[in-house]
Symmetry: C2
């Protein structure tokens, strides 16, 4: 099959079609989304070598469960052992023996086929188009915040970052409180949220500080410092940015203000699929470019430029 | 009256006895404890000028409330406005207009007299000796952790730092779970906890990581990095250290592990007094030196050396 392979540099290659192991399904990829984590991987993040890509929709070609065979699915990316301490504590995302699709010890979705454990797959509702379904994983990551924190209509929220994850976080927060402001560098990106009646501000604009919740999704090591300036005493900062670069932080302020800083990663697929099916989260305007897999190297190059979502059709 | 005054350097001085304002009490100080925050103040922390000291026990000499007059009291250090947003949200410790005894805009306890709002005062139980009562404020700071976090007998806790606050935190954590290990640099300080059957380890010893809760009380900007290595996924780091020096942190690990980092400051006096009265927290072995107020400059100098609690008798 054809696939994008990263081994220090990214190239299109002919590689063997993967064989599903026990309890795994073989999935023919229809579409895959490019995430900033993919771009970080091309810079060496996680030391990953292989086929990147972890946001996808596809058709199950082979699997033991006949109810899944031939069905259109999306898939959770953490493949877990069910035996380690964290699996037994019902924190499978933190499985000590996990592989992660296209990120850690498992080939990913920028390919004609991928394999995943059957238990990772979710049927894509028919009303959710392919190019919408590829957003399930990042929308789930936004819903993770709502599992970690009770958000009510009286909460004031600032989302730092107008990129893909920032916009999805702002949309998901907006389902819980209308007092959401997304702060970013790009007027044209913020325009997408304005069209949904979600509050926005340019980074150079003054914004009211002392908010209850700040979601840090800037993708920059500077983001947390700004978040700590904006959050109220005993408020919460949700940390979404994963960058390898160390951040210099003055920690006495969060101690004096008794701020909570909460790391946040992968989230629940079910509310994400529901939000996409109902149109509660609007993702199609975020797709700026689509490419066939054969142009995948260029697609990932473009994803690092001034665009929003790049989708690869396989 | 005599007092220690800091205005860039610390000196013993004759200053006017303070006059209590409306709703305030005049307190004759009996004993005061030296805290690391006092030492930070002498280095310029908070930009404080005036009389430092915020851990005390004293006798109420003047006040409107006759039930307090002549009584032995300890006092909460945050003096609040009751009108601002955070007071109204029942977070008076974060009052926007607060003064803080011996730390911010209010003269402190290294003096013959101090003033505090009556509402800040708590009667010291007769069974609590003066040199024990001065620990009420830091013991309350340790109990603050139990307000921010549910701690159960199955939780494994590491306390980083064998100084005064680390030891009090370890003792308070031990009331909730016996799986407590205090990690520090000083064998002789850890010995105090060993005598209470609380687990200890030297910083150079191997300690099992993946614990549920890490209390960071090292007083060093390096402490948080170590705490993040020791805490389990979805575990909690309680940040007690306030140092002005910025810390370089690699933030992708706490995001991937979805760690909670919670700043923690002042706490509730009632459980602290109860623990001291019942002997559930044992503080007298922590007192290494006591000095009269006239030797206060030397006392604060000594407090910065290889000692535990220094107490000033007035």
């Amino acid at each position: 099959m054809q696939a994008l392979v990263f081994d220090g540099e990214l190239r299109l290659a002919d590689v063997p079609t993967p064989r599903p192991e026990k309890d795994e399904a073989l999935v023919r990829v229809l579409s895959a989304g490019v995430c900033n984590t993919d771009l970080e991987i091309l810079k060496g993040y996680m030391g990953f070598k292989g086929i990147p890509g972890h946001e996808f929709v596809g058709i199950v070609e082979e699997c033991a469960n006949e109810h899944l065979r031939g069905k259109r699915v999306v898939g959770e990316i953490n493949c877990v052992c069910h035996r380690c301490e964290y699996c037994q504590l019902e924190m499978p995302h933190h499985c000590l023996n996990r592989s992660v699709l296209g990120i850690q010890n498992r080939n990913g979705a920028f390919a004609e086929y991928l394999t995943l454990p059957e238990e990772n797959l979710h049927l894509a509702p028919p009303s959710v188009r392919d190019d919408v379904a590829v957003f399930t994983e990042p929308v789930a990551a936004a819903f993770r915040i709502t599992e970690q924190l009770t958000i009510t209509a009286s909460d004031r929220v600032i989302v730092l970052g107008d990129g893909k994850l920032g916009q999805l976080a702002a949309q998901v927060m907006w389902l819980y409180t209308k007092q959401v402001t997304c702060v970013g560098h790009h007027a044209w990106k913020l325009e997408l949220l304005k069209n949904l009646n979600i509050g926005t501000a340019l980074s150079t604009d003054p914004v009211e500080s002392g908010v209850d919740i700040v979601v840090e999704a800037t993708g920059s090591y500077e983001g947390l410092r700004r978040a700590l300036e904006l959050v109220r005493p005993e408020g919460t900062v949700i940390l979404k940015t994963t960058v390898a670069q160390p951040t210099a932080l003055e920690l006495s302020m969060p101690v004096i203000n008794e701020v909570r800083i909460v790391g946040s990663r992968c989230g629940p697929f079910r509310p994400a699929l529901e939000a996409l099916a109902l149109g509660n989260v609007e993702v199609r305007p975020m797709i700026t470019e689509t490419y066939p897999l054969k142009d995948g190297v260029f697609a990932l190059h473009r994803a690092g430029e001034d665009v929003m979502k790049v989708v690869i059709h396989v």
